[in-house]
Symmetry: C2
Amino acid sequence: MPKILITRNVGAEAMRLLKATRFELIVNPVDAEPSRAWVLEQIADPDVVAACIMHGQPSDRVDAEFLSHANKNLKVISTFSVGYDHIDVAAANARGIAVGHTPGVLSDAVADLTVMLVLMAMRRVEEGISLVKSGGWPQLPWAPFVMCGPGLGAPNLTIGFLGFGRIAECVVDRLLAFTNKSAPPRVLYTSSRAREDQAEIDAGFSSRWGVDVKRVEKDGLAEADIVIVLCALTPDTEGAVDAALLKKMKKTAVLVNAARGPIVNSDDLNAALDEGEIFGAALDVITGEPHIAPDHPLVLNKRCAVLPHMGSADYGTRNAMADLCVRNAIAGAEGRALPAEVRV
Amino acid sequence: MPKILITRNVGAEAMRLLKATRFELIVNPVDAEPSRAWVLEQIADPDVVAACIMHGQPSDRVDAEFLSHANKNLKVISTFSVGYDHIDVAAANARGIAVGHTPGVLSDAVADLTVMLVLMAMRRVEEGISLVKSGGWPQLPWAPFVMCGPGLGAPNLTIGFLGFGRIAECVVDRLLAFTNKSAPPRVLYTSSRAREDQAEIDAGFSSRWGVDVKRVEKDGLAEADIVIVLCALTPDTEGAVDAALLKKMKKTAVLVNAARGPIVNSDDLNAALDEGEIFGAALDVITGEPHIAPDHPLVLNKRCAVLPHMGSADYGTRNAMADLCVRNAIAGAEGRALPAEVRV
């Protein structure tokens, strides 16, 4: 009987979908990352026609070794993630294996967390929490502007995005519920290159939200009160937020990174915060994660909140990812088109 | 020449308004709380016709002692706060002194922070930050649902408010930008008593937001996925969130307090979090503040974020409070009606 391999229990809802098929299931029996040897052994089983794999498990890396072990009947590899930097898609496709992933379903959860990070950075939440934890609250002297930060309700705010895809659009939807109604914000964003119909695209965005939206080159973001990093990590964007950009930014501006750590240069950000070149920062991602020590300068910096990459971590979202991951596998196993196939 | 006393520099913008008047100014010369003796000495000056005082400075308490020192020409006491529990308003009025305060201008800033607290409680941010600070991130094992929490995008969410004034309405405005569009939330709220036209009031709210809004008794909040405390502290609301209510709540629910500490029983909340009776909490206020030690159970509890009462702490808001405080003082000094007078 043809089999589907699942390298990690993906939750009751998605497992139910799998159990309703005619396929036999091979499920990693422990609730932990399997060994690489176990994965390679299972993938060699000639009955395995589809495999659900996890981005978060290094054991599941789809490289030359993995593909050389894969049996000739394997039709689809479906990853529990949007990103597929752990999969050699071209090599898999060359062997007739389709690759599925889970785009779209994370946008709302990541946008929610991004807006929270904006508020945390503006309103000095890391500093406030640290004050309470260190026992400093009783000694905090009252003053009219003590612990104040810039607010989202300020007039004529400029909101800047490094990268302006689906998640960024969801962030704009949310932020406009907070911003000043009588002196509305404007939105600036970067993209990898200007389109021929750029003016038309920006007019479309502007009319959709009723505020001025405009593509700029990266340096244009220096005018922003809030800079939100939501682009993909590519050779072009690696280190895009560096000392040069941070020095040009407003002293009252905040930086949020909800995309990939290496887009922001950690040393440069820490220096900019210490020297008051920007007001604050909040990061869901950071270069070198998860190997971040408690004495990392940005972890110690009171003007910077560091979260352990939780952008998509809500139950509804992870269940939706599991659902799409499993449906990609079943479709591939049944020889149908994948609901969400990676095209490279 | 008639004088206006200002017990604390309230920022350049508001000080400019004062300097443009015909009044002489007496400003606390240091950027710190003045001594009680200094305040009493100044208020006795027969030329002082108006006084701007601070809620955050115990030296400024308007009690029998203060009023016995006040000269006979004092016309107005204007506090830099909405709350006036530090002022004996009836006694001041009996001596012909009007009392001004700063309502309204804080609503947006507090609502911003409240929405942030909702997201922090749902998305386990305190736990996430603690993990990073303790050096635990490298050892965090990946799993499909690791560090997951309930999300604002879940279908048919129930949002509950203990108290439903202006700030709560601003919170609803914001939360609806996050909630599920195809399976919208409903809103439940308490108020001190049902009105005769309660059905009409609720219909008005429902049509304003396009979601079902309904007044309930306190126990009705047990159906909510999110309970947000935004009522005034009164003998009726003190301890309103107690073990009995917390036990009835959903295990997946979160609690946010952005009003006054004593409305929530801290011991009961800590026990409910430890026993998994609710999912998480986030507090801007806490009983006993600011005298909160680092080993306070709720400060140590990873499912609870504790902030040092920063609800209104954004520059725009504090400047707007200073503006209204100063305009109350000037109006009173000139014998005009106060823009915002406390009526008891």
